[in-house]
Structures are given as structure tokens and as C-alpha cells.
Amino acid sequence: MKLRLFHKFFFAFLTVGIAVVAMAGFLIERELRTDLTTRIDDEIAAEARIIALMPAGEIARHAEELAERARARLTLIDATGRVTVDSERDNREMDNHLDRPEIQEALLKGVGKAVRYSLTLKKDMIYVAVPLQEGSRTTGYIRLSRPLTEIALATYGMGKTVFAIMLAIVVVSLTIALLFSLKMLSPIHKMAVFAGQVRTGNISGTLRIDSRDEIGQLAECINEMVAVLQEKIRTADAEKRKLESVFSNMREGVMVLDAENRIESVNRGIEEMTGRQHRDVIGKTLLEAFRNSKLHDALERFRVREETIYDEIGLGDNRPVMMDVTFSAFRGETDAERKTILVFHDVTRLKKLERIRTDFVANVTHEIRTPLTAIIGFVETLQRGAVDDRGKTQEFLRTIHENAQRLNRLVDDLLILTGIELSETNFHPERLTIEGALDQALAVIADRVSERKLKLFKEIRQDLPPIRADKDSLIQVLLNILDNAVKFTPEGGTITVTASPGAEQDLIVRIADTGVGIPKGEIPRLGERFYRTDKTRSRELGGTGLGLSIVKHLMKAHQGRMVIESSLGRGTTVSLHFPIFQESI
């Protein structure tokens, strides 16, 4: 950069300098040459005229001496052009000279001059000829000639001077170019470096140039430009960051496909929903990344119809996820900029709630109808006359009573559940010791435990902190869990109740049985209303299908939680986590 400008300066100065000197040299040389030639001309012309005054015989006799005196070559030519005498050559070898231009000119004008290459002497010669006259008759010509070496010597001397001047010019222009380029270049170089920095993205700092000329103005402009650029980039950056944070933080999954339908970007929502990492899906097609035929079908449909479409698609490796997917197009200016935007909305929970609701209605109807059918059936039988049979009547009435009670229990449970859900139950959390509540609950089921010959172990540490709970609710929770343990543990089994402090400022009550166990896939559904793992058996045992649901909701109201672990055939452990009582609350 720097060098290039320096070169430009240098060559410019050099060219101009050398051109001027060369031109001057050329002109001076020409002038000098003409001047010298004229002078020599005149000189030898004068000499020739003087010699011409001598008679021809004298000239011939003293030719060499005359030539020496005149510092020239002397040639005597007679009127016919024959050379009679030559000071430097044998006249007999020389041809007729009448056709020589100087002779012709002398014949016409009285004096003839010519500069030409002498074939005789093999050098550039200047010739001057004057006629020899006797009276008005021309008897011959006297010609003097001198070589041009004199002139050459003179011009050579001048050439040396010119060359020296040129050399001086080279040196001077080098110096000037160096100074100039340094002076000019230092700011320009600074600007270039600064612009380079800006190009690579480093747009901090300003350009400092102390100059008021055009370069200073240019620097000022660059500074303003950079300031504007900085502002623009900052705004764009802020905007981009804002969009990015929206993009990555939104719960919905967003995916962008490029023109070739390869995944260009996904947000965190997608990673969370599908369990696939960013790097595993970028650059792949939907099929490669998710291998889901429905998703692929939906994309195909979208491409054909070219309009926003919605679809519900099951995705996810570890847990099934129900997605509501919206396809929309982003049309760029060219086909290559065409993108497809997929927005995934996780509707798994919604779907589940929907199912639970429909299940609930179906279940309630079913649960109510079963005892009602029995009651109506027996009442009708009694009406038809069975009432007269005392034994039968007693039996029927007992069945009717049982079913009515079952209905009652169901309605009670439903009321409790609805109450908790609507937060309308009288929920009074207070400072309680777990042991007191446990003893009360165990007392209620004691009869059934001994009836089924179950072994009951209670291991409760004495130093347990008090918990914060509503007394009635706490007993209800413990009763429901214990009730299940008793129901589903075969005769001779064991129920173990332990209580110990937990890790998170809580107290854990574990009720473990050696019962039938629960299939792993069903555990998450246990808190659902009317959900039964073994439908017929549970109902035989008099369950309403609402017990665990009530526990789940009550635990939630206590800000605690219930954890169920189970293995088929080995038994189930229910852990209830209660928050520890704290004075400040």
C-alpha cells in the first residue's frame, strides 16, 4: 500500500524530470550542432576563398601545406570534375567529383556546402567548395573538408553534463517522492489500517488525524461513518439478541427448514420436547432427524398446498409427546431463500386432560350405575312379591343397603375431591406430630389387618420434627394409603410404616407393602380419578377408584407430594413427603 503510492510519486517525478532534461538536452544538442556546423562552414569557406585566390598550379604544389594550415583536407578538382590533387588521398584513385552536391552548389552559387559520409575517408565530413576562376571562366574547384569529430566531441561533453543532471534528478525525485509519500501516506495509511479494522468487525475507536486539508476532512467523514455504523450495528445486535432470546426461550418449539428442506435451526423448545440435541438435527431432513412418517407426510402436504397447515403428531423418544405442528412459509427474494417455519406446540398435557375428563364422565356414570342397577333390580324383585319371603327380603335389603352405602361412599369421595379442587374444604394447617396421626389411622384399620393376618411394623424415630398439616386431611391421607396396602396385600403379607426426615426440609412417611405391585407404565396414572390398575378386583374390594386421587390432591394442598415405587409381584412403597412445621409460617 505504502510502497505503491511511493512508487507512483517516484516514477511521476522521475518521468517528468527526465523528460524535461532529455528534451532540453536534445534541443541544446541540436542547437549546438547547427551552430558549430555553421561556424566550421564559415571558417573553412573563408579559408577556401582565400586559397582560391591562389593560382591552381600553386595550390596543387602546396596542397598538403595548405591543408595542414587550414586543418582540413584539401581537394583540387578541375572543371570537368576530375580530382587533380588531394591532400590525403591519391587523386588517381578518386572518381569524378562533378556530381557532388557541394560542387554543383559552388558552380551555381559561388560556394557549396554539404555534410555527408565520405566514402573515401569513411567518416562524416563537412565539405565546402568554391570555384577557381580565371576571369569569368571557372577552371576548377577547391574543396576543403573537415571531419565532424569536433562537433561530436562537443556534443559528447554536453551529453555527459545532461546525464549528470539526470542522475541528480533521479536522486532528487527519489527524495521528494519519499518525503511526499511519507507526509501524505502516514494519514492515508492510518485510514487504511482503521478501515481494515472496521471491515473485520472491530468498530471501536476513532481515527485521529491532525490535518485540516482534504485528508483531514476524509478522516472526519470516516469517523462519522463509523459512528453511524456502530449505532446501526448496536441496534441490529440488540434487535437480534432480543429475537434470539425470544426464539430460544419460548416454550413452543420453533424449527426453520431451508430451501432443500433441511433443518437450519431449532430452538431450545424443540430440544426439550423431542429430547434431541441441536447438533443431532441441524443439516438433516425431518425424516433423518425424527424419522416420523406423519411429520414427513405433513410437510409433503404443506409443500403441495402451499398454505399454513396444522397437524397433531406424536413425537419423542423417551416419552410420547403430542404435538400441534403449524407449518408456514417464509418466502425470500430468491428460491434459495425460501424457508419453512414449523412451530411445535406441546399438547400432551391438554390431550391428557381431555382424556381424563372424558374418562371421568364415563367412569362416574359407570360407577353410579352399577350400584343403582342393583338397588333398582332388588327393589323391583321385592315389589313383585319377594317381600313376602322374610328370609329373601332380609337378604335383598342387605344388598340394597350395601349398594346404597357404596353410592354414598362414592358421593362422599367425590365431594371431598371436588372440595379440595375448589379449595372449599376447611383446611386448617397446624403443628402436628406424625406419630399421633399415624396411631389414629392405624387404629381404624387394626381390625382388618388382623382379619387378613397381615404383619404390621411401625418404625418411627422419636426425634422427628413436627409437620404442618391439617389434622383431618392428614388422617384421611394415611387411611387411604393404608387401606390400599391392606387391600392389595395377600394374607400373611407385611406392611411396614416408617417415618424419617427427608433431605428438603421435609418429613417422609413410607408405607411399604408386600402386595401385588403395580405395572411400571401405570404408576403415573394412579392419581387420576377412577383409574384402577386391576379394574374388576379393585371394585370387588369396595374401592371407589378415588382414594389415591384424594391423596394426591390433599398432598398438593399440604405443599407436599406423593411418590409411588413398585415392582410387580414384590410390593409397593408409597412415600409421602410432608413439609416440616416452621414457626415463621
Binding site: K284, L287, E288, R291, S293, H296, D317, P519, L568
Partner: protein, 229 residues
């Protein structure tokens, strides 16, 4: 195929299409096995019928993919890796089609079993199905990502399936000996177990072809333990 672009864009597109179709069928068969097993485990006859109906689509795609491959072979005369890819595609296609058929078979058995009381809670069968499904999934992942290491893992997993298959058979044998009423159901469960075992064999076949496609080495009919041990 991704790294080297062919001069002929159309050819590239056709190769892509074959790969996409294969992955698509892969997705369908994967789903079919999952649904077939769910139909059995959840005693969901409706789902089982659906699986059987869906097999028609897999069969149709099987023919389509094969035709595409043959067309490519005939018209493009592929060489080197492309040739290996297409031959591999033909074979993987066959494996997938068979897996699809087996999913339908499992669904058929599920319908029969759903009409009778539960013999016992399924414990080993779901585990076996889980491993087999994992093998299909991983063999297809290996195909998509050209992941040889994953393909080798699939080959090793086949042993787990074989062990479970034997275990289930022994257990069923005791059931049948104890109570002749269970023979019918036991035999069907045994058949399902055998079907799953064959599904895993096909998954292994896919893995073999992936190894061949990527490395050019044939590992078929060689025990999985021999090459890494």
C-alpha cells in the same frame, strides 16, 4: 453421498429420494412394531387391526423403493459408494418389509390373545420388545448417520434377544406343563417371542448392510463378538 456432489443434480436427487423413502418406511415399521406390541400389552384390539391395515402401505412402498433402485442401477450405472448404497438400499428395504410383516403378525396374535383371559402379566416380552425396538431404531439411526459403531452395537444386542427368547420359552414350558388350559395361549406367546427374535435378526441385517455400505466390508454371517473381541 452428501460429501461428494454429483455433477448430475438429477442423479443426486434420485439417490436422496431412495434414502428418504427408506427412512420413511423405517419410521413406519418402527411404529408398527411399537403399536403391535402396545396392542398386545394393552390388550387393544382396535390398535392391532390398525397395525394390520397399515402393513399394506409398507408393502406398497417396498415395491416402489425396489423399482426406484433398479431404475437407478439401469439408467445411471452407479459406481463405488453409490453402487454400494443402492445395493444396500435394496437389502435394507427387504428387511424393513419383513419387519413390517412381523408387526402385522404380532398384531394378529394380539387379537387372538385379547379374546382370552390374561395368562400372566407380561414381564420378559415387553423387555424383549423394548430391546428389539431399540435395535430397529439404532440400526436405522446407523443408516441415517452412517454410524458404523452404532451398527456394531446393534449386532451385539442380538444376543440379549436370543437369551430372552430362550427364557420366555422355558417359562412358558412350565406353564403348559402345570396347566394344559394354558397351552393355546402359551404357544401364541411363544410365537410372538419368536417373531420378535426374527425382528431383531432383521435389525441386525440392516446393521450389517450399513457396515457394508460405509466401509465396504461384509460382516454378514459372522458373530458380533468375533470382530471386537
Amino acid at each position: 453421498m452428501e460429501e461428494k456432489r454429483h455433477i448430475n443434480i438429477q442423479y443426486d436427487k434420485e439417490l436422496r429420494e431412495v434414502k428418504d423413502s427408506l427412512i420413511y418406511v423405517g419410521a413406519l415399521t418402527e411404529k408398527a412394531i411399537e403399536q403391535g406390541m402396545n396392542a398386545l400389552l394393552n390388550r387393544d384390539t382396535e390398535l392391532a387391526r390398525q397395525v394390520i391395515a397399515n402393513d399394506i402401505l409398507i408393502d406398497r412402498l417396498d415395491i416402489e423403493i425396489e423399482e426406484k433402485c433398479i431404475r437407478l442401477l439401469a439408467l445411471r450405472q452407479p459406481a463405488a459408494k453409490d453402487l454400494r448404497f443402492i445395493t444396500t438400499a435394496i437389502k435394507i428395504n427387504g428387511h424393513l418389509e419383513r419387519i413390517g410383516d412381523m408387526a402385522a403378525n404380532i398384531a394378529e396374535k394380539a387379537i387372538i390373545l385379547n379374546q382370552e383371559p390374561l395368562l400372566k402379566p407380561y414381564i420378559d416380552l415387553p423387555r424383549m420388545a423394548e430391546v428389539a425396538q431399540g435395535m430397529i431404531k439404532e440400526s436405522l439411526d446407523a443408516f441415517v448417520n452412517e454410524d458404523v459403531a452404532l451398527a456394531h452395537k446393534v449386532r451385539k444386542d442380538d444376543q440379549i434377544i436370543d437369551n430372552l427368547n430362550e427364557q420366555i420359552f422355558r417359562e412358558l414350558l412350565t406353564f403348559m406343563m402345570e396347566d394344559p388350559h394354558t397351552i393355546h395361549r402359551s404357544l401364541i406367546i411363544s410365537q410372538i417371542s419368536k417373531l420378535l427374535e426374527r425382528v431383531s435378526d432383521h435389525a441386525e441385517g440392516i446393521a450389517d448392510m450399513v457396515i457394508y455400505m460405509v466401509t465396504g466390508q461384509s460382516v454378514r454371517h459372522k458373530p458380533a463378538s468375533a470382530e471386537n473381541g
